[in-house]
């Protein structure tokens, strides 16, 4: 459900460009130490990185309710993640399914609280303040082509959540207060 009004920051890139259907990997959960370790930057053209991006996409695709998945969540400490918020009721701008390497938030504004969950913290959700508008700079796996992605609302939240994973941070590190963690009742 790509929004046709949004310019294509990926210059025609789609997951098919990886040339690899990927393999579904097991998702690790806290307190696994890999989730708290900052991941190193990667060489986006490294075949292992391309394979990792494909595996993350495959794993996200088969995980119900999953809108994003980062390398540490499959046990790999690296700055690679995938996002797909297509069809999510809280999404506004939607760029479909994509994978990014070495992503950084370069602009952030309109901070809003929101409740989020995580496949790696399956039993809890947390209230976390995130920017509702962000600009992210990153590189595409495979070509290494630079990407400058502007987005908002739920896609912006998903990007910040995944970039945090790559930096070794969980939503638990960002909750808004002592009463901001909750036993999980519904999935994102």
């Amino acid at each position: 459900m790509s929004d046709s009004s949004v310019s294509d920051p990926f210059h025609g890139w789609t997951p098919d460009a990886l040339g690899d259907a990927g393999e579904v990997l097991p998702v690790v959960t806290a307190p696994d130490p890999v989730l708290s370790r900052p991941g190193p930057e990667v060489d986006p053209s490294d075949p292992k990185v391309v394979r990792l991006a494909a595996d993350l996409l495959a794993t996200m695709r088969v995980s119900p309710g999953c809108v994003g998945l980062a390398a540490p969540q499959v046990g790999v400490s690296a700055q690679v993640f995938v996002v797909n918020v297509s069809g999510h009721p809280k999404a506004a701008t939607v760029h479909g399914a994509f994978a990014l390497c070495n992503a950084k938030v370069v602009e952030a504004s309109r901070w809003r609280p929101g409740r989020e969950g995580c496949m790696s913290v399956p039993d809890l959700t947390g209230d976390v303040k995130r920017a509702a508008r962000v600009v992210v700079e990153a590189a595409l796996p495979g070509t290494g082509e630079p990407v400058r992605l502007a987005t908002d609302a739920f896609e912006a939240r998903a990007l910040q959540h995944e970039i945090d994973h790559c930096a070794g941070l969980l939503f638990l590190d960002r909750v808004a207060g002592a009463h901001a963690i909750h036993q999980r009742k519904t999935y994102l």
Partner: protein, 163 residues
């Protein structure tokens, strides 16, 4: 109030208090591993009278009410700096004791705290008022203690946006 959770406890207790003319002021209620817990302050008659009024709600020991008199004016003014501490990691004995001792040694006062154990994951989030100028030293000491416990800690100022 502590007991087995079921629908209607808050309504029944509030009605009993209102019937006594006891005015419910501050309270906090949650469920802890399925147990109903409610701590509340009310202005009204003496503790014995309140306890007697709540006794019929005990439901054969499934709900326990403990009533104590507290002096008014417990709202101490505090000029501290508010911080938020988040700790998570593999459950082990003594995490809460070790990290809160660091806060106590700096004369930090915990104002709100939640802990959760889900599977092997232990999570603690605490809001603490620190004496001005002590935060950097507390953050450093917390990082050392957390490393020793093999848990993650983040420590940052509480956001107090007024809208």
């Amino acid at each position: 109030m502590i007991g087995h959770d079921r629908p209607g406890i808050v309504a029944s207790v509030s009605e009993a208090l209102a019937g006594l003319g006891a005015n419910l002021t501050d309270s906090t209620m949650t469920r802890l591993r399925g147990h109903f817990t409610w701590t509340l302050v009310c202005n009204g008659p003496g503790a014995a009278e309140v306890e007697a009024a709540l006794d019929p709600l005990a439901a054969g020991g499934r709900l326990l009410a403990t009533v104590r008199e507290v002096r008014a004016g417990g709202e101490a003014a505090w000029a501290g700096e508010p911080y938020l501490m988040s700790v998570h990691g593999a459950d082990r004995l003594g995490i809460v004791a070790a990290v809160t001792r660091v806060l106590a040694e700096a004369s930090g006062n915990i104002t709100d705290l939640t802990t959760r154990l889900t599977g092997p994951l232990y999570v603690l989030v605490a809001e603490v008022d620190l004496p001005p100028g002590t935060a950097d030293a507390v953050a450093k000491r917390l990082a050392e203690v957390a490393a020793g416990l093999d848990v993650e800690v983040t420590f940052r100022p509480t956001e107090t946006d007024v809208l």
